[in-house]
Amino acid sequence: MTRQLHLGVFIYPGGHHIAAWRHPKMQAERITELDYYIESAQHAERGKFDLFFVGDALNAREREGKVVGEIAINNLDPVSVVSAVGSVTTHLGLVATLSTTYNEPASIAAKFATLDHLSGGRAGWNVVTTLDEKAALNFSRAKAMEKSLRYQRAQSFVDCCKALWDSWEDGATAADSLRIKAPMYRSQYFSVDGPLGMPRPPQGWPVLVQAGGSEPGRDFAASIGEAIFTAQGKLSDAQAFRADIHARMVKRGRSPDGIKIMPGLSPILGDTEEASKRREEEFAELAHPSVGVWMLTEMTKFRLYDHPLDQQLPTKDIRAFNPALGMNALSLLERAERAPMTIRDAARIMVRSRVHQSFVGTPDQLADHMAQWLHEGGSDGFNILPPLFPGELGLFVDQVVPALQKRGVFRRDYTGPTLRDHLGLPRPPGRPSTRT
């Protein structure tokens, strides 16, 4: 059989378009309600998706010390959301993000073990180290931990969780005290005796997901990752990224088969190319100009709030203020220097831009595009970021999934009950049995 795509859906309050909550079809008052999440999860399961994914943030998005009022909230607590939708689905994988920087390994090992038991082996953990400096201020820290230390702690955190998950032999129950062994985990970060308070999770360990493309992030993925969520805009970059991760895995003695790389993809669909472009335009028009100005200021660190919208983008001032601009900021400034660009124009570009790849076109065009990335080694699947929930996810399931199935690159039904089954990942063996 040809290689198959793996599909995740990345849920978000409203949708992945920054102004999704304003869309006429969006019942914005629903985005903190159970049914909103259930409806999306049921679409995903109907579409035979591998997994349902919830991202995390540990601080509010702010402008000058106040919450940005023009955008919707961050995701609700990820474990709570996936656990709630897990009880109304039977196959869909449930991937929740949790930070190793602001949690305790014994608590998190128990949390994911519980989720894996309650869901019958569908849990996944997106292991993050929390980038945002402002999060530290919510956790009694003056500043964020330095990046390489964050990853060292994360490695130890995951090692400790694995030791806890393996503390019960497979099949051991509470009555088999001789088959339950406290791992007595010790590292420079943690001193955890264990054992886990419950039998080994059905999947052995939840599926370990990594997201983040920095050097230490890639090494961490190569060390512990079984799936990667990544932002890749171009096929050639995606191929290079995938090859790089595989090489790092081989260096560590891991088989590249043990990881599924799933770039983010935000689809805007239409029956014709023109229709899809019109819909893209419709979304972009929903964004309040001040959202784009906020995004510009966040990106450049240069304060633009008091500048009139129809003034030219002050590229010289921005360059002088911040000599360490990132790639996206530089490319925008260069564009503004080639042809006149007002702050309003720049703001419009910002609200159209995505960290993740967006695709505007017909369902067949999108299916071809996805199949091409699969066949040419750009990815093992995609994490889908619909601009609007639940409707645009429903559209993807109704129109793109059948097109993928017709091309022979996506399952027509689940072949097993666990997330590891869907992703084709082996179950970690655990400790050898001492049963006599």
Binding site: Y37, A60, D77, H117, S119
Partner: protein, 336 residues
């Protein structure tokens, strides 16, 4: 009279945590009109077998409609921001039916041995501060913060979302929370410690204190210690049978005596006993001795008799757990 039910109890439990099993318990308790079912994470017959009850109550949100769902998060090693964020989600997902059992300690100190050791007095002071920080975070979005003004592009009103700028002895937390206020304002905070320190903590921070006492005469002193504000429930282990003799023989079969205050007898006898107890406190937290057996007996035999008295309503009266407990919904402490 408030009526809650706690797990786990003696008897046969599934070999591994099973959603179907917890769902059955919850639906049975809801059928009996209990105000809340409380999970501290213990699922096994005895010993250190614990799950995380927080994802459990999230999973139970869709399997129940009216009963309150309580889960324990121990104060010792949890960050207030994480606690506030979990309950901000769960209280919305359960449409205002969540409760936080703010427990002292996990009983698993050796899993947190890397944390700096803490003097007992510090543990209690830190616990009080962490509940206070959680409440501040819940209150950081006033009730009117989410406005959903589509024409003007205003999702929320930043003027009524407040950094909490908490700087205390144990925590410094800037806030605000990145989630709207829980539906109940503050999900009710339950506590269960009746030591002198525990009562002081309850007086300061609890909405409900469940008192595990050996003798009901202790309740008057506890009430004095915690003041008028928290609801006071007494924990009662219950073992039922058709006749007193049968109940006694079932109790004998258990092998271990029931802990603390207990009732062994008939459903009719229990109703009389509860009526008497309820004059000493605001309600009862029942511990079915053998979950599978005694919870069913409670619901099918005792509850209808209770409902025939004026002690329990025939149906849920409130929409949220707070309403069913008779607790007013608090205004945000940041509201002008």
């Amino acid at each position: 009279m408030i009526l809650t039910v706690s797990t786990p109890g003696h008897g046969v439990h599934p070999a591994a945590p099973s959603l179907a099993w917890f769902r059955t318990l919850t639906r049975t308790a809801e059928r009996g009109g209990f105000d809340a079912i409380l999970f501290d994470g213990a699922w096994g017959p005895a010993g250190p077998f614990t799950i995380d009850p927080v994802p459990l109550i999230a999973a139970l949100a869709s399997s129940s409609k009216q009963i309150g769902l309580g889960a324990a998060i121990a104060l010792d090693h949890a960050e207030p921001f994480n606690i506030a964020r979990s309950y901000a989600a769960i209280d919305r997902l359960t449409a205002g039916r969540s409760a936080w059992i703010a427990a002292m300690g996990t009983g698993r100190a050796a899993d947190f041995a890397h944390a700096p050791p803490m003097a007992p007095a510090d543990r209690w002071a830190r616990a009080a501060e962490s509940v206070a920080v959680v409440r501040k975070l819940w209150d950081s979005w006033e009730d009117e913060a989410v406005i959903l003004d589509k024409p003007n592009g205003r999702f929320s009103n930043p003027d009524v979302i407040h950094p909490i700028n908490h700087s205390g002895q144990y925590f410094s937390v800037r806030g605000p929370l990145n989630a709207p206020r829980p539906l109940q304002g503050n999900p009710p905070v339950f506590q269960r410690d009746v030591s002198a320190e525990g009562l002081a903590l309850a007086r300061e921070t609890a909405d409900v204190l469940i008192a595990p006492v050996g003798d009901a005469s202790a309740l008057a002193g506890i009430r004095r210690a915690i003041g008028e504000r928290p609801r006071l429930l007494v924990r009662l282990a219950v073992l039922l049978a058709e006749t007193d003799a049968e109940a006694k023989s079932r109790a004998k079969e258990l092998g271990a005596p029931l802990e603390g205050l207990s009732f062994v007898g008939t459903p009719g006898g229990l109703v009389t006993h509860l009526a008497k107890l309820s004059t000493l406190c605001d309600g009862i937290d029942l511990w079915p001795a053998v979950l599978a057996t005694d919870l069913d007996l409670l619901v099918d035999q005792a509850v209808p008799r209770l409902r025939a008295t004026s002690l329990r309503p025939a149906t849920y009266r409130g929409r949220t757990l707070r309403e069913n407990l008779g607790l007013a919904r608090p205004r945000s402490q940041f509201a002008a």
